[in-house]
């Protein structure tokens, strides 16, 4: 069965691409065509720009795109999370209004979940949405919002019921970012970059039809978004391999990639740049020092073992077998690797590790590692949260008794935000 399907799919897809792919089209025009054909997201429902294909067959389609060199639908950034969330929880109106423009890349999105007072604790959001007259009025402050200054639409988590318990009082909205009640400020990080934004919501409005799911269902919808965020994290690392072909569609794609990747340009440094360790050690001659060799070997051991662990998890998944505990460990080990790599780089570069200017090693990259790695153990769930998750979900150890799950949220002790 499967094999027959694979052949059919491959043949159909190839035929369509050979008939339609044209790099001289405008990027939006091409993607519009692609979305309509269902080959852009073949595992989506056929009613909504897909072909009802099983996920297992998606790689076949990707291979055909790669073979002919065709550009796919827009796949980077928060828009992917928006699409997944809308597909799962949105109304037909949402799907009609948003999905196509997501796939063409015309609209960009941002995620308004984190708040200054609730970092690891997303469900502790205190941004307030109230129905006034015939619309929702939103007041509050969001942080860590990538690309908020460019986004057309935001995925908003807000509290609509203060008498309900913490998770039950939240609702989920799609908010128009281009309105007077929404103000975006860049948030500068300790490494000097400003990849994120603070978003202030002052009497910002949302039309009732832009509520996603029901009032009070916000946490459930958020969980869908977050699940896709975790899955999507891998994608980002490999995305951005741009073609250097000269045609119009490629040119427009290059511009899109440049814009989308801009906030992430320090991400390789955040991970510790293990890839540079051996070459730097050779350049500086430190590779011949026994003490440095030990530290490099420790780092490479951790890095290789982590890589093989990820591949072990993926292999099990690909065989359709249940993933072992090894699948939940990637985030935590990446923190350990990043910290160790920063230490090893300092040891290798010595005093030069401090330098950031033109005269510095690799034009400041080594110094940027040092001031970027602290993000790894914080962003996307701190190490502490990861350990909680591993111990509770994987090892089935007892859950932490928290102070906020058994009373109305208005009575829960929380941070004052100035």
């Amino acid at each position: 069965m499967n094999e027959m399907n694979e052949e059919t799919v491959r043949a159909e897809c190839r035929a369509w691409l050979e008939a339609n792919w044209n790099p001289n089209l405008g990027l939006v025009e091409w993607r519009h065509k692609l979305a309509e054909s269902g080959w852009g997201n073949p595992h989506w429902p056929s009613r909504w720009y897909g072909r009802d294909l099983s996920v297992g067959l998606v790689p076949v389609v990707k291979e055909e795109f790669a073979r002919i060199g065709a550009i796919g639908v827009a796949e980077a950034g928060i828009r992917v999370l928006a699409a997944a969330t809308i597909l799962a929880h949105g109304t037909d109106m949402h799907k009609e209004k948003f999905l196509m423009r997501i796939l063409t890349g015309e609209d960009t999105w941002c995620q308004l979940f984190s708040e200054p007072g609730s970092g690891s604790d997303v469900a502790g959001a205190v941004t307030r949405a109230e129905m006034r007259g015939n619309q929702w009025v939103v007041n509050g402050q969001k942080v860590w919002t990538t690309s908020a200054h460019k986004a057309h639409w935001g995925l908003l988590l807000a509290r609509t019921d203060w008498d309900a318990k913490k998770h039950a009082g939240l609702s989920y909205f799609i908010i128009d970012m281009k309105q007077p009640g929404v103000t975006v400020y860049p948030l500068r990080q300790m490494n000097g970059h400003a990849s994120f934004n603070q978003v202030f919501l002052s009497d910002a409005t949302v039309q009732p039809e832009f509520l996603v799911a029901a009032v009070g269902d916000g946490w459930e919808v958020t969980t869908t978004t977050l699940m896709h965020e975790r899955r999507g994290a891998d994608g980002l690392r490999t995305w951005g391999k741009k073609s250097d072909r000269p045609e119009r569609a490629f040119e427009e794609e290059r511009a899109e990639i440049a814009t989308t990747m801009e906030p992430y340009k320090w991400y390789p440094q955040r991970a510790g740049r293990v890839d540079l360790v051996i070459s730097r050690a050779k350049e500086t001659g430190k590779i011949n020092e026994p003490v440095v060799r030990q530290e490099i070997a420790r780092l490479m051991t951790m890095s290789k073992a982590a890589e093989w662990t990820a591949r072990r998890a993926r292999a099990a998944q690909e065989q359709g077998r249940p993933q072992g505990p090894e699948g939940s460990l990637g985030k935590l080990v990446s923190s350990n690797i990043a910290r160790a790599a920063a230490r090893v780089h300092t040891q290798i570069s010595g005093a030069d590790a401090l330098l950031t200017g033109d005269a510095s090693p690799m034009n400041g990259v080594i110094a940027e590692i040092l001031v970027s790695v602290p993000a790894t153990s914080i962003a996307g769930g701190t190490d502490e949260i990861q350990r909680n998750i591993i111990s509770e979900r994987v090892l089935k150890m007892p859950r932490e008794r928290t102070g906020d799950s058994d009373k109305p949220f208005k009575d829960v002790p929380r941070n004052l935000v100035g």
Binding site: I278, K282, I287, N288, P290, R293, Q294, I296, A297, R298, M300, T301, M302, K304, A305, A306, W308, T309, R311, R312, R314, A315, A316, Q319, R321, G324, P325, E326, L329, L332, V333, N336, E384, Q386, R387, N388, I390, S391, E392, V394, L395, M397, P398, E400
Partner: protein, 365 residues
């Protein structure tokens, strides 16, 4: 590279695990470890016969099952997990490895079937009092007539083996020789060590008659690479068992009116332990697969796996005792048996520092 076990391998493992839990429970380990021999011939023969464990990696032409390191390492991992007292590692990894790599077809045909059948208990004697497993450290000599003079130490099951493969400096360089366990001029002394589950011996050779097996050039390094990989797999088996037992204990042990598993520091430690053990398992499994697939970086991979397993096993054992608290420091609690095995495994074939230094040869100019 193969990154996951086949369903046949998984089934082999779970059968073996049940079998060992039944036939080699920790009570049996405690009994055998008190014997000077460290194992019993009849018991081991019977246990081995049922599953043909010693035959796993011996080629079919020499009476074995002809499996690869994938299967052999499953056996070792499960034996490390169950802490089985048996001359299995010495016989199947060390001695059989040397014979397979250095022996002629004729010698293989003479020696391997006995190993596969579980009749011959064998070992490899290479390290000496210096405690180094490097070939260059070898001082024991073989004369042109094949007589050995010198000593060996830290020889796994060296005092009980029927057949001893000896690394010696012969007339044309380093070579392997075979010696009968009861040969004249051979004095075998059980070493007193802190790990009662793994017996080591010191051997003195005074004009002992030996038979040349083959050149050790290249082949000895290969045997040591295989030993490092196999031991890594044995070690991660022990580490995982320690981790699981400590976790289970934390779930039932009450202090201050709640299970200690509900204390966050315990939970976070358990998460870190899981991470350590899973990483070490990945390295050990990868190395075993790399042996089977003839990977060119195998020397680096083997050292990486051994260094990773060393640190993880010791660290896990230390945590496991700590989690058990006072009970964990008693003789009657089983945790210390693995703790001691972790320490002896760290030292065997070179410690983590040694193997990290070896690893770097892969990258350094």
């Amino acid at each position: 590279m193969k990154f996951s076990f086949s369903s046949e391998q998984d089934e082999f493992r779970s059968n073996l695990r049940r079998f060992l839990a039944d036939r080699a429970p920790i009570k049996e380990t405690r009994r055998l470890m008190e014997l000077d021999a460290g194992w019993e011939r009849e018991g081991w023969k019977a246990l081995n016969a049922e599953l043909g464990l010693t035959a796993v990696r011996i080629p079919e032409e020499y009476g074995g099952h002809g499996f690869g390191f994938g299967e052999h390492c499953i056996v070792l991992e499960e034996m490390g997990r169950a802490l089985v007292c048996a001359p299995y590692f010495a016989t199947t990894v060390l001695a059989a490895g040397a014979i397979l790599h250095a022996g002629s077809a004729e010698r293989k045909a003479a020696l391997l079937p006995g190993i596969a059948a579980g009749e011959t208990i064998a070992t490899l004697a290479s390290a000496e009092d210096s405690g180094s497993w490097d070939a260059e450290a070898c001082t024991l000599t073989a004369s042109a007539t094949g007589h050995l003079n010198g000593h060996k130490s830290f020889v796994l099951d060296g005092h009980t083996a029927d057949l001893i493969v000896v690394l010696a400096r012969g007339p044309s360089g380093l070579a392997f020789y075979t010696v009968d366990g009861s040969a004249a001029g051979l004095t075998r002394t059980l070493l007193k060590t802190m790990d009662p589950t793994r017996k080591l011996a010191r051997l003195e050779f005074s004009d002992v008659e030996a038979t040349l097996l083959g050149s050790a050039a290249g082949t000895y390094e290969r045997v040591m690479i295989e030993a490092a990989v196999c031991l890594s797999n044995e070690m991660v088996g022990g580490a995982e068992r320690l981790r699981e037992d400590a976790l289970a204990y934390s779930m039932m042990r009450m202090q201050f009116g709640k299970a200690i598993a509900s204390f966050q520091s315990m939970k976070h430690k358990a998460a870190d332990m899981l991470l350590d053990v899973e990483l070490a398992k990945s390295a050990a499994y990868y190395a075993a697969a790399a042996l089977d697939e003839g990977d060119g970086d195998i020397a680096m991979t083997a050292s990486l796996a051994k260094a990773c397993a060393s640190d993880t096993y010791s660290q896990t054992a230390t945590h496991a005792i700590q989690i058990h608290g006072g009970i964990g420091f008693t003789w009657d609690n089983d945790t210390h048996l693995w703790y001691k095995r972790a320490k002896s495994s760290d030292v065997l074939f070179g410690d983590a520092f040694h193997h990290r230094e070896q690893m770097m040869k892969n990258w350094a100019a």
